[in-house]
């Protein structure tokens, strides 16, 4: 299978070509996500993603196929402020 190079939270990563943002994030966080990218186990994800500096709403993760050279930021709440 062809692989592509992307950047995830500033780290270079090789992934299979053809993965959607939903599929990638699901494997990255270790949780099954439904077609709306909600956690199958009912938990709140508390995550957001940006592709090349633009926020991608969770409902669109399933329709965005990752391309070579793209940069993903996956963020969550952390202690602060």
């Amino acid at each position: 299978m062809t692989s592509i190079s992307i950047t995830v939270n500033s780290q270079p990563v090789q992934i299979d070509a053809g993965l959607t943002l939903r599929e990638f994030i699901s494997s990255h966080i270790g949780k099954d996500l439904d077609s709306e990218s909600k956690a199958v186990d009912g938990s709140k994800l508390g995550l957001a993603a940006a592709l090349d500096g633009v926020v991608v709403p969770r409902s669109s993760w399933n329709t965005r196929t990752l391309k070579d050279g793209q940069s993903i930021e996956i963020v969550t709440a952390a202690q602060g402020g």
Binding site: N9, K44, A48, V55, E73, I74, T76, Q79, G81
Partner: protein, 272 residues
Amino acid sequence: MNSTDTPDLDARTDPFVVAGRTLSSRLILGTGGATSLATLESALRVSGTELTTVAIRHFSAAGSGNVYELLNRNNVLALPNTAGCFTARDAVLTAQLAREALETSWIKLEVIADEHTLLPDPLELYSATEQLVADGFEVFAYTNDDPALAGRLQDAGVSAIMPAGSPIGSGLGILNPHNISTIVSRATVPVILDAGVGTASDAALAMELGCDAVLLASAVTRAHNAPLMAAAMRDGVKAGRAAYLAGRIPRRDTALASSPSEGMMQTLVGEF
């Protein structure tokens, strides 16, 4: 005096309404600086806060615990911030990510001028405010203690003005109480004293000056005993609020005896 003569202040008698929501506590606790999630959870519970700030950072599968889950199980609302942003552009993107991640349109807007002071950059702050208000956010604007800038932010549509008492994490308290009073006197949205609180008397002073609430983090999370300081802050905020509503006596240059001069024993009259 019976109990009905000593009114208790609570959400029913003295509601704190911000961005259309009524909160029962006027203390907003930040989560930064806690040595462990267990300590943070204990401090949050003791403080009685209903709203707490969180930062937005990279997800890490190897992360040490989940602060978002902690807030959810304690029914504490998350107020995401844009800490670490130096430009309006970065702050707007961070706010949009926060809205998506935490499913809230509330954002504590911080746009910092430099690492040394961590004071807000007024121009970038104003620009970000305009963009976020237009995008439907409830903006809690962390700002300098400048009444003119606070007025401009209010006119731009912020949901709360959050003037700094002194630099973030400094513990220097409220360096310019007069400016805070001026901001309060002109505000039509809640004023939340943010940054610089070092101890409970600072929080009480903020409330005595008429602030609607106090936001603090380091003073509790970096205290030797964080839960005990959380209790002190909780009580300081309550005491300050009660004192503000009760109305302090005017300051005088000379003494004013509280005991009557009538009925004094004859031998003592004239000795003073």
